[in-house]
Amino acid sequence: MTMPIDPDLMRDPDQNKRRDLTIAAAAIVVCVVLPFVFPNRYLIGQGVTLFLWVAVVSQWNLVFGVGGIFSLAQLAIFAVGGYSAAMLALYLNVSLWFGMFLGGLVATGFSLIVGLACLRLSGAYVALLTLALATALQVLIITDTTCFMRQGVTCMTFTGGSRGLSRFGDFGFTAMLGRANAPLGNYFLAFAVALAAMLFAYLVIYSPIGLAFRAIRDNKLYSIGRGISSVRFQLLIFGASAFFTGMAGAVFAGHYRAIGANILDTSLLLFLLSMMVIGGLGRFWGPLAGTTALLLFDEAMKELGEWRLAGLGAILLLSVIFMPNGIVGLFRSRPAAR
């Protein structure tokens, strides 16, 4: 009585290649066309921000949403990538283009260490430890006052201290494209990083490795009982989610021609966390949806001055209550499985 099934028809219910391709094509067209239709400096700058946060949140989602590991180290990883590229440029004259990849690699190494430190912890303890790590990193940078290099009469510290690092140059788009078009260079670079990060996330989520991450999240003991090495995969998750995050940090530094310890502020971390949650945890389109929604909302709330934070809190509260599976969850045909 069981009907024969073709193995080709066995699929992932979350994955719909045609839908994904359509959305991706539409989004790419919009992002490519928009800066030419509205060649507005402010808009292009906001576009860079959007792309960088999409890159970071899409990788964070691999750890937090797909892997179910409550790490809050993602901005620390971003900062390590950005600072590495900036310092390499400043002290060793390494081009930011090359430094961008090195930043990604250093960030990966840093993330692996974070993953190692979290191996024996679970749940809220991972959140606590990683938050402590991020805070410690910020404090270390801010309290760094040892003279490393003289710049005229002032004294530069190794990490730039509380003033941050600057004067390490940028990606050189002014020389390449002219002063007027230079912002477009940053725009498309950030776009490329976001695109690569999302493509990477897509491949991971729907690969056997992604299935293993989800299996560990669903039931760790059972996953071990089916041969999954939780140590190996936890390190894999931390390593894999760091490269594009670190790269985004380097693009951030090049775009602003500066980087400071304020990117480790808890308020920014919570902002990105909200993007991930509101978009839809563990879902491929969640980071893009959440980041876009929150940046648009933030834009609309600009008028409200200090009420902006309250508004953000309210939106977070409402969306958690009314969209427990995030924006992406609203478009799911089946009943929510989580």
Partner: protein
């Protein structure tokens, strides 16, 4: 002939409590060994130690001649021992075939690198075949959170079978099931055994146990108080007085009579 599984003087202590106390036994190829005994006797703890989830306080465990006493549980999987847990464990957000796929892809001893990056048609076919063996092929695309308990239990067995384990360890596979469901599990295990499977099964339900097992071990307070054919079980004085009680014993004896 070497035994598939061989435990020598396995002991597991929790503080002063000896949950498993000096247990020695072996399981031969294509044998079905039943383990029974009252709640808290140490049966699950014995499984935990044998499968590497918990370290033995003393004693050794050999699987296919290899000493696995110190190996990690996921490594022991790759050596061919698959456990089916007491609770109906599953990966709830995955579909039935994806649940099976986990057992298929990650329990291999030397998985080719490509197998970590791509799910092939052959992989899917293997998963489907394992689902067919437990009668769940029609559920392949169903998310497991939506499956009833019995199907979750079958699914857990399928995700163990897919790797062709050399020994299958089942912890109370029919606990909490109705008589009809128990019969379904019985039929499945019987067909596995016909195909040469080696099974260790913990079970409270004695009628099921005597029918399925070639040999039965009874544990009590961490110790083995009986090891022999199921037919002798009801006649054994110690087992009668400690575990079965007169009524159950005569019921089992009756079932044995009818079997002949």
């Amino acid at each position: 002939m070497t035994a598939i599984l061989e435990c020598r003087s396995v002991t597991k202590s929790f503080g002063a409590l000896r949950a498993v106390n000096d247990i020695t036994f072996s399981v031969q190829r294509n044998e079905v060994l039943g383990i029974t005994g009252p709640n808290g006797a140490g049966k699950t703890t014995l499984f935990e130690v044998v499968s590497g989830f918990s370290r033995a306080s003393s004693g050794t465990v050999h699987l296919g001649g290899e000493d696995i006493t110190e190996l990690a549980p996921h490594v022991i999987c790759s050596r061919g021992m698959m456990r089916v847990f007491q609770s109906a464990a599953a990966f709830d957000t995955l579909t039935a075939w994806q649940n099976v796929y986990i057992g298929h892809a990650f329990s291999r001893r030397h998985p080719p690198l490509m197998s970590l990056l791509r799910i092939t048609r052959e992989d899917r076919a293997s998963c489907l075949e394992a689902l067919e063996r437990v009668g769940l092929a029609h559920r392949a695309n169903t998310r497991v959170a939506e499956l009833p308990v019995l199907e979750r239990k079958f699914l857990m067995i399928a995700s163990a079978l897919v790797s062709n384990p050399s020994i299958l360890m089942l912890d109370e596979p029919v606990g909490g099931l109705t008589q009809d469901e128990i019969d379904q599990v019985f039929d499945l295990l019987t067909s596995l055994r016909k195909n040469g499977a080696t099974i260790v099964v913990i079970e409270h339900v004695m009628r099921f146990m005597v029918k399925i097992a070639d040999r039965v071990m009874v544990m009590h307070h961490g110790e083995m108080i009986f090891d022999g054919e199921p037919g002798r079980l009801a006649r054994d004085e110690t087992v009668r007085s400690i575990y079965l009680g007169e009524k159950e014993a005569s019921r089992i004896a009756g079932a044995e009579e009818r079997k002949r």
